[in-house]
Symmetry: C2
């Protein structure tokens, strides 16, 4: 995922701050000396309402996912009167932990999870990891005393199966990673001796550069060649006897593999790099913590059918228990998936409706398997991800419960939209079989034999959501300023109606995105309320 | 740590197995298809003695570290009569977890740890992490139901302070890592276009290679230049608004830094790569588990003064309670540090004594600080290691207890022998002050202010050990076959006397090395006993 900013754009950007190399250095020094921006809710987002206010402002929040729950929590903390409506039978949205007895409410394909009733045997079907950089969600976990444990996102011992490499037979990732760094360093060494070389080596001591390149790739320092590396492990036990290196692979295979181009670079990503965390017991501990702190729980099975946005309040009509009910509030915070809003009657402005049309559906699917034995730990694999070039893409091993009897693995995490569409059309049984074949290639003779139970969660078919991870515009292009404008418009709201949720952030599919959107919307409501109070005081 | 095997040596080695590229591939496929070598003690190392044997063979084990304890356990499981003598007041050797009240028995510098009495506030002064590849220790943990939790060894959010970079001001490791991969990839791109290029790019599709190199370093794919990367994080929050990249550093600074040459590559190491584990509650859970399973605990405060190796048994004279006591056994397994054997009277053969002379003392020092608040978690740091170019080298953040109130950090891990000698000469107070200064550079305004209590463990001054991590020959040169021969000689034993311990392995300082040595020695004893039993049966 190379940056979309050209050198020229970057320099112009730096130029605006000062312009010289010295400035660059001082910018960097200053910026990095500072701790990351202190998150807004070390303290609360909203200033508490004055206790003497004649009337508490009312808010209706649509949707009880992380966006809606965090908004309701913060509003109540500040003294607002909040009602949360949720279309589904359950609270949490895509923060969804599946365990014994959990109903998976997929349209036309209802499942009930029959994992063993054991607190360690769960499957986070939605968000499953907390990047340490996502300070909002981390701070809520701290505030709510949610116990966090490390989530292992990268494991050099885990496997890769890729048709392009090793004749399609599994390899340890450590082999491929060692080869990749080695070959790149060998090429870099040739780059250093390239007569047409200019930047970036100006003023660099050539001997030190050679040492650095050799160390980077574990090259033979005399020949500056990659000849295999102990980083890949050894063919022998390596504790007592003479050791031999594993033979190394070919650059051609590497270059043609999906793994070297995607999987290997995955944990370099700004929010996938170590360390990451998970709540002990399941991601929905966070949902529970919010709900426990609300004065009344969200109203479930409440399906919104019309939103009437008025100058002095918003009226929401919803269906519950086969009856149409009506709720009126000063503000409406709406986390209904944007792509579902076209099916809901509303009088939002033409401009705002047009912005809403940019919110995409998104598709992601996961499979979870309860395994009768943690056979992967026999192979030295504790947590982390194995990669396959089949559409199931990943197998995750649980980061918790090491060396216990059983474990739940993620058996598929499908990203590609076409693959998701295809996978969603399969029956539950066919999906599990499809994922089993991928797993079996990673663990021949073990994987299928240990499966006790499986669930599939295809988010674009999940009732009341019908999508996942959809955002505005091309979500992979974080530098797209057109998408930024659309997001800003949606967050600014239309009168007293505001869209919420990860869908309006640059990180759809991440809880932090939803929390950031909540924070922004509440800042706007804070301003509106402050000026209203000033007006009524004057 | 580049491999010491030349391409020629490697090829000759592969040649012996088959010789052609096709063979190389099939060797690799076969070798990697297999799970790692099944460790010997999935089942026991020794065949249990026949119940009808007239007399149980007796063994005296010298030293109750991991080598001695594992030997005693395995011998007892097989029916041997075992006595363990330990010179110190405590059991465990360098598997040493310091917590409230622990006595640190340093010569001339006795300390008592005054951390809070809290099961999460401990400091592993010796081994502190279990590589998933170390199957022997992992299997004991499983057999003994020792709960393991992830140990975070690498953390992109942690800091680096290096005089060579950023004017000595701290940087996030993610910045340096992104820059390093970027510059190396930019050089590699120049290497690809080097007219004198030959191997390894034969037959490689140039377009795919460019994509791969660009992806590896997150280059601007049009210019094949490194221009900063989102992997380093952003100057802005990145959730809602237009984003800007952080300015990137200079190759010159990188190349001259210690971090880019050492720290950054550290977790690429074959036994430092993720995932790693730690026992919940402290490394000495493993010691406790062994001791719990012995028929009688090791005899502590038993200082060996003479070993008499005879044809039909070994006599050990030791001092305890100011009295000389004598023990006679069929075998003696000796894990006394090799460098201390010169002070113990013995009649080992001249050849064996000469081999013993190769075992080095080794020096390693650690500092542990109890911090009143986990201030590093405010900065998005959960576990992992910050690096400094001062001799204290590392600061480790606890991988457990995230978001609790207090935590124990490792405040120094000194590797360099000269630095260790120097550090060991300081008073306890001076050591803590020295480490505090390093920590303060990593966490300005936070580190010193939060220190509640500190301990220093200087292994080369610890009573009855006077060393740590010493091995045979140059322990960094794993390919040295002279050292391999010395190790083999020591493990083969001298008559009925055998050396034990990590000191005789290629991985001194690692518990797995001690377990591997135990395994080898017990295999020899198994052979000796089998042939003796056959002789007595005939």
């Amino acid at each position: 995922m190379p940056s979309q900013l050209s050198r020229r754009q970057l320099l112009s950007l730096i130029g605006k701050t000062g312009g010289s190399a010295a400035v660059l250095h001082s910018v960097r020094a200053l910026e990095l000396m500072a701790a990351p921006p202190a998150p807004a809710h070390h303290s609360r987002i909203l200033t508490p309402l004055s206790a003497t206010a004649s009337k508490r402002p009312t808010v209706v929040v649509l949707g009880a996912g992380m966006g809606g729950l965090s908004a309701a929590f913060e509003l109540e903390q500040a003294g607002y009167d909040v009602t949360v409506l949720e279309a589904s039978h359950r609270i949490g949205g895509r923060n969804f932990t599946v365990r014994a007895g959990t109903v998976i409410d997929e349209l036309g394909n209802r499942q009930i999870c029959d994992f063993d009733d054991d607190p360690g045997l769960y499957f986070n079907a939605g968000p499953a990891r907390l990047p340490a950089m996502h300070l909002r969600i981390m701070n809520y976990c701290r505030e709510f005393s949610i116990e966090l444990e490390p989530f292992i996102n990268s494991n050099y011992n885990a496997w890769v199966v890729d048709e392009a490499m090793n004749q399609g037979q599994r390899l340890r990732q450590r082999d491929v990673i060692a080869d990749a760094r080695g070959f790149i360093a060998e090429l870099a060494a040739k780059g250093v001796s390239n007569p047409s070389l200019d930047a970036p080596v100006t003023n660099v001591d050539m001997e030190k550069l050679q040492d650095y390149v050799a160390g980077f790739g574990d090259l033979n320092p005399e020949l500056m060649r990659y000849e295999g590396s102990i980083r890949a492990g050894l063919t022998t036990d390596g504790m007592l006897d003479p050791i031999t290196l594993k033979p190394f692979g070919s650059l051609k295979e590497l270059v043609e593999s999906q793994f070297a181009n995607v999987g290997m670079l995955f944990a370099e990503n700004e929010y996938q790099a170590p360390s990451m965390m998970q709540p002990r017991g399941g991601m929905d501990r966070i949902v529970d913590a919010f709900v426990d702190r609300l004065s009344r729980p969200p109203t479930t099975r409440a399906r919104v059918i019309e939103i009437v946005n008025g100058d002095d309040g918003v009226t929401v009509h919803y269906e519950r228990d086969d009856k149409i009910q009506t709720l009126r509030a000063d503000y409406c915070l709406n986390s209904i998936p944007g792509h579902l809003m076209s099916g809901i009657k509303h009088n939002l402005s033409k401009d705002y409706t047009q912005l809403l049309g940019h919110v995409q559906r998104g598709m992601l699917s996961k499979v979870g398997f309860q395994m009768s034995r943690r056979f992967w730990e026999d192979e030295g694999i504790y947590g982390g991800i194995s990669w396959t070039d089949r559409s199931t893409l990943q197998v995750w091993y649980p980061s918790h419960g090491s060396q216990r009897a059983k474990g739940v693995v993620l058996g598929a995490y499908i990203f590609n939209p076409n693959h998701n569409a295809e996978f969603g059309r399969l029956s539950h049984k066919e999906r599990l079989e499809y994922a089993t074949v991928s797993g079996e290639a990673l663990h021949p003779g073990q994987y299928r034999a240990h499966i006790e139970s499986g669930v599939s969660v295809v988010w674009h078919r999940m009732n009341h959501l019908l999508g996942c991870g959809g955002g505005v515009g091309d979500i992979d292009d974080l530098f797209n300023t057109e998408s930024d404008k659309i997001r800003a418009g949606l967050l600014a709201g239309d009168g007293r109606h505001f869209m919420l949720g990860d869908q309006i952030s640059k990180h759809p599919g991440w809880q932090e995105g939803a929390l950031a959107a909540t924070e922004r919307v509440l800042q706007t409501i804070q301003r509106l309320e402050s000026s209203r109070q000033m007006r009524s005081a004057s």
